[in-house]
Amino acid sequence: MRMQLLHLYWNEFRKRQKKTSLITFAIAWGALSLLLLMSFGRGLSNAGSVSFKGLGSTMIMLTRGQTSKPYQGLPRARRIHIHMEDLELLKRQIPGIAMISPEANNSHNISYRGKESNRSVNGVYPCFAEMRSQIPAAGGRFINDLDQEKARRVAFIGWNVAKELFGDSNPVGKEIRIEQTPFTVIGVMKKKQQSSMYQGPDSETVYIPFSTFCQIDFQRFLDRIHIRPADPRDALFMENQVRRVLGRKYRFADDDANAVNFWNTIRDYETGAKIFKGIEIFLSIIGALTLLIGAVGVTNLMYAVVKERTREIGIKMALGARRRHIVMQFFLETFAIFFKGTLWGTLIAFNIVSLVNLVPIGYEDFGIKAYLLRPIFSLDILIVFLVVLCVLVFVSGIFPALRASRQNPIEALRYE
């Protein structure tokens, strides 16, 4: 294709540009919709994933339950509690447990220089932090093995506890009291987004070594056992293993789903991720359909253009234009309309995404804002967009162009 021929086509296209402005707008609108819906869908998905990880996305949480069927002559509705020794039992009998931590909690009075607060105090193992996505803010640390071993009086506190007791000053190294027992604050939890929780958000909680907890608070039962399988794919298998091992000890049926309860965040996370992905795809399809309407409009316009210029096509054929010369001209016009429209649509979409991302979101008001105000404009979105666009350009351009090229030259020349 000669540059000069392109120049001629461009001139002919330019003369009619006013007629194409409306359809260019439709394409811009379609491109804008598709890009925005994809970006916001991705943002939604991402927010969902982030907040899921706030609880921890690779663990199984075990809590007490009640039997739902009789077993070996024992009645139904027996309470099954979990005990500290079960931890060792599970570790011994089930291979593939990467981490395991007990959790026991109780509400206690917390005070610092006259400021008081009633908070949940939880006794846990050091590995709890990693399973439950608890990261110490700079300058602090979580409970370590030595703390557990020596039953040290140290506390890792949620950022809201820190704020209430210490205001803006740094709590690390300060001494708080849990009831009347002094504890040294060793770390403050780094802020995180958390959408699912039990007994309140982590930001409101105080964590101390499990051994220390046993010294200040007597409890016969554990509240929870957290388990992380070495391979997340074993999540469901491990759940069944735990139920079987405990079933033998406490005598309940292997298939009694309520004897002990599981919160399997691995499975939840996978399900949640699928739902969000589904929403994302659904939104993208809506966007693509919007662009499709624009594309149908372009096809329509191009058919009209071909008709309007039938005679010019005839003239060109008489002068020796081949079919590809004619096809190319109309195809390029379609391309030009799309190009102009999508350029505008993309620019506007990009700016909207950037602007919306400037809206501040606090960690406290995690909710609708975090889902709606953090659209993501990523490379793979752009690639999907371009693929959809190429398909639409081709499909909407090729048919009018082929019709143009298949005209009978004589009839085209006679066309008034």
């Binding site: 000669r2 000069q4 021929l5 001629l8 001139n11 002919e12 003369k15 005679r311 010019e312 005839g314 003239i315 060109k316 054929m317 008489a318 002068l319 020796g320 234009a321 081949r322 079919r323 590809r324 010369h325 030259p409 004589i410 020349l413």
Partner: protein, 225 residues
């Protein structure tokens, strides 16, 4: 140069068949200047279209420069239209959005000629038809005679051996018409083969001989003027 062997053309319009040409034999030698005359509907335009490879015959064979043209593909016929034939139409058929210069350049663009070569040729042709100052003007800014001269220049762009003119003076006043015919005469003297459809005997008088058509058949051939 041009040889029709028993050429027929039948148009089908639904159930109705219309015979435009029936069993036409004609031979045109290189350097002929022939008028094609006859009442409307006698097949003049169809004859011209088949010669110009815009249309294909329903039956018979057409030899152009000794080669059988029947059965060639659209693109092969395009190449013939581009290199062998120059068309001049009654209503000029210039591209409205293009300048005189661009209109003349067009056949060379389809052929892929180089920029410098094109420019030289367009300038030469504009000079020849006396429109050098009008190069940048659009057809709508020109008179009928000027437009037809641009059309002739365009027909000559690829330096084709054959010029086909369909009522070239039909839309022009007699003075402009004569100017156009003067150009055709010059081209003929330059060695080109010219076929021209006309119903005006005064215009036909410029040509060397006449073919008369009636109801799709050759009524008389080679009437000298």
């Amino acid at each position: 140069m041009i040889e029709f062997r028993n050429i027929s053309k039948v148009y089908k319009m639904g159930e109705v068949e219309f015979v435009a040409l029936k069993g036409v034999f004609i031979t045109v030698q290189k350097g002929d200047f022939i008028s094609i005359m006859g009442p409307s509907g006698s097949g003049k335009s169809t004859l011209m279209n088949i010669i110009g490879c815009l249309d294909t015959p329903s039956e018979g064979s057409y030899y152009l420069e000794g080669k059988n043209v029947s059965g060639l593909t659209f693109d092969q016929l395009s190449t013939i239209r581009n290199r062998k034939v120059g068309f001049v139409f009654q209503n000029f058929n210039l591209l409205p959005y293009a300048s005189a210069y661009e209109n003349i350049e067009l056949p060379m663009l389809f052929n892929g000629k180089k920029g410098a070569e094109r420019k030289a040729r367009v300038d030469e042709l504009l000079e020849m038809v006396g429109l050098a100052p009008w190069a940048k003007h659009r057809p709508t800014e020109m008179s009928g005679g000027q437009q037809q001269r641009v059309a002739i220049a365009r027909a000559l762009a690829m330096d084709p051996p054959i010029i086909l003119a369909d009522e070239p003076t039909g839309n022009l006043d007699s003075k402009s018409g004569h100017e156009i015919m003067e150009i055709f005469s010059q081209l003929w003297k330059g060695g080109r083969t010219i076929l021209m459809v006309t119903h005006d005997p005064a215009i036909a008088a410029f040509s060397k001989s006449t073919i008369r058509l009636l109801d799709g058949a050759v009524q008389a051939n080679g009437i000298p003027n």
